[in-house]
Symmetry: C2
Subunit: 130 residues, 2 copies
DNA sequence: GCTTGCGTTGGAGTCCACTCCAGGGTGCAC
DNA sequence: GTGCACCCTGGAGTGGACTCCAACGCAAGC
């Protein structure tokens, strides 16, 4: 029993699965963010497990605000294989550090928003009674 | 004793304080994200307490990924005064909800990155001993 | 009184990340 | 065999958020 027993997906199915458009998937491949995707005899793309896993990673890193060109660089390092494992680890560690900073910043903003909303509540209450 | 005893700032000083460029500050004013900033007799902008407070808010909301046009709308509501307190509160509450979602997503990504980095460490160890 | 360093404007240019064609192919359903 | 729904390509277009520029103004220092 494998985790997901679905076979390879067409581009539109893959796109829907990850929440992107088919155009964006082709675009990602074009700029080298994704390795060339396997094709049918007729030349249509088929997204299998490895492609979907790479896509998940791209979506995750994208969510952290990592620019596409940095992810393209990462993809290039993946193609280099074992010789580039250390720099890849370094890139991820860097991004992890940035992510932590960002999370702290967002936590601060959450507190800021809560204070702000509270003052609005006070104002609204004053307007009602006034 | 006030919190910050610095007088009004020139555009470049204000820009440096918030980590933006002077051009960006002018741009924000142009698109209506900031109300017209007070000027000297010679027409140069002076950023006082209220302007800097607005800027802090803008930076915070920007950090949550709120698009500028939404913040412009918020600014418009601020200009409307008390009649628009409720919708403003609603906008902030909305953004707060989105922020929470986003924070959870980032927490998940942090876990993802940690797993990924760990597998790289394992691989690196294997490469060394191999 | 002129250089230097700040500021002003309106408008054009840039970068990023898509997004949308036009023109064409493939394969299944009827 | 003809719709129809999908897919393909290269290239152009879009929207957001800046960023840069030319041409100019003002004020302080030498």
């Amino acid at each position: 029993m494998s985790t997901t027993t679905t076979g390879p997906l067409t581009i539109s199915a893959a796109a829907e699965r990850v929440g992107l458009s088919a155009d964006t998937l082709r675009y990602y491949e074009r700029i080298g963010l994704l390795d060339p995707v396997p094709r049918t005899a007729a030349g249509q793309r088929l997204y299998g497990e490895p492609e979907m896993a790479r896509l998940e990673m791209v979506m995750r890193l994208r969510g952290t605000g990592m620019p596409l060109h940095a992810m393209v660089e990462y993809t290039r390092l993946v193609r280099e294989g074992d010789t580039a494992v250390a720099p890849r680890r370094a890139m991820l560690a860097d991004q992890r550090a940035r992510l932590l900073e960002r999370m702290e910043e967002l936590a601060a903003t959450l507190r800021y928003l809560d204070r702000k909303i509270e003052t609005y509540d006070t104002r609204l209450a004053a307007l009602e009674t006034g």
